[in-house]
C-alpha cells in the first residue's frame, strides 16, 4: 500500500508539506509541484524535515516548476528525484492513489 502525495505550497507559506510528511506512511512518494518545489532546496529551515522524511519516503520535484523558479539540480537536497510531467503520470500509475495536500 503506497500513495503519491502531491504538495503545491511553499513550505515557508503553509504547512502542506509538513502535513503531507506527517500523514503519509513509510513507502509513500511525495511530489513537490508549483511553489512546493522550494521545499526541495538545500540550506533552508525545512531541509532537516525533508531529509528526515526521506528516510522512509521518496521525495520528487517537478522539473518545469524547478526551472521556472531558478532551482538548478545542484541546489537540491541530495536524493530528491526530478521528474517531468510524464514522470508525474508514471508516479500516479505506480502508486495506489493520489492525495493532494493543498
Amino acid at each position: 500500500m503506497a500513495d503519491l502525495h502531491t504538495v503545491n505550497k511553499s513550505p515557508f507559506e503553509k504547512n502542506s508539506l509538513e502535513a503531507a510528511i506527517r500523514f503519509s506512511l513509510a513507502g509513500s512518494c511525495i511530489l513537490l509541484i508549483e511553489d512546493a518545489v522550494y521545499g526541495a532546496l538545500r540550506g533552508t529551515r525545512v531541509e532537516e524535515m525533508v531529509k528526515a522524511a526521506m528516510a522512509d519516503k521518496k521525495v520528487y520535484a517537478l522539473q518545469s516548476d524547478l526551472l521556472a523558479r531558478a532551482i538548478k539540480d545542484d541546489r537540491l537536497i541530495e536524493g530528491v528525484g526530478v521528474v517531468d510531467y510524464a514522470g508525474f503520470v508514471d508516479l500516479v500509475e505506480t502508486n495506489d492513489k493520489v492525495q493532494a495536500w493543498l
Partner: protein, 130 residues
C-alpha cells in the same frame, strides 16, 4: 490507466489549471485515458469563452478546448459553482432567465454527481487546487 482530474482554481490567478493541463496532456500522450476533467470552486472560470489573455501569454481556456478537441475530453463545470460565479450555457440561461451565455465550446455544465461518478469510475482521481 483511467484518470479523473479535478481543477479547483481559475486560470491565471493560480497555477493549478496549468498543472492540471500539463498533467492531462502528458497522460493522454502516454496513452492513458482521461475520463473526465471536473472544474469546481473558482475552477469553473476555466470554461469562460470570453477570456482574452494578452497575446504574449498562454491561453489557458483555449488550451483546454484544444486538448478536448484532440482527445474528445469530457470537460465539466460544476453547476452549483458555475451558477454562483456566473458561468452560463444555453440550458442555464433558459432555466435562470439570463440574457447571455459565456461557456466555451467543449465544456458542459453538470452536477457534482459527475465528480463523484468520475472518482468511482476512474483508477485514480488527481486533484489540482490552491
Amino acid at each position: 490507466m483511467k484518470l479523473a482530474i479535478q481543477v479547483n482554481e481559475g486560470p491565471y490567478q493560480h497555477q493549478a489549471s496549468d498543472s492540471a493541463y500539463h498533467f492531462a496532456k502528458a497522460a493522454l500522450e502516454k496513452g492513458h485515458e482521461v475520463c473526465r476533467v471536473f472544474f469546481y470552486h473558482d475552477g469553473v472560470y476555466n470554461g469562460s469563452r470570453l477570456t482574452t489573455p494578452p497575446q504574449d501569454d498562454r491561453n489557458v481556456v483555449a488550451r483546454w478546448v484544444d486538448l478536448a478537441e484532440a482527445y474528445d475530453l469530457d470537460l465539466v463545470l460544476c453547476v452549483a459553482a458555475a451558477q454562483r460565479r456566473g458561468l452560463v450555457d444555453d440550458g442555464e440561461a433558459k432555466r435562470n432567465a439570463k440574457d447571455a451565455t459565456n461557456i466555451a465550446p467543449r465544456f458542459r455544465i453538470s452536477g457534482l454527481g459527475q465528480l463523484v461518478e468520475a472518482a468511482i469510475l476512474a483508477d485514480r482521481l488527481v486533484v489540482f487546487g490552491d
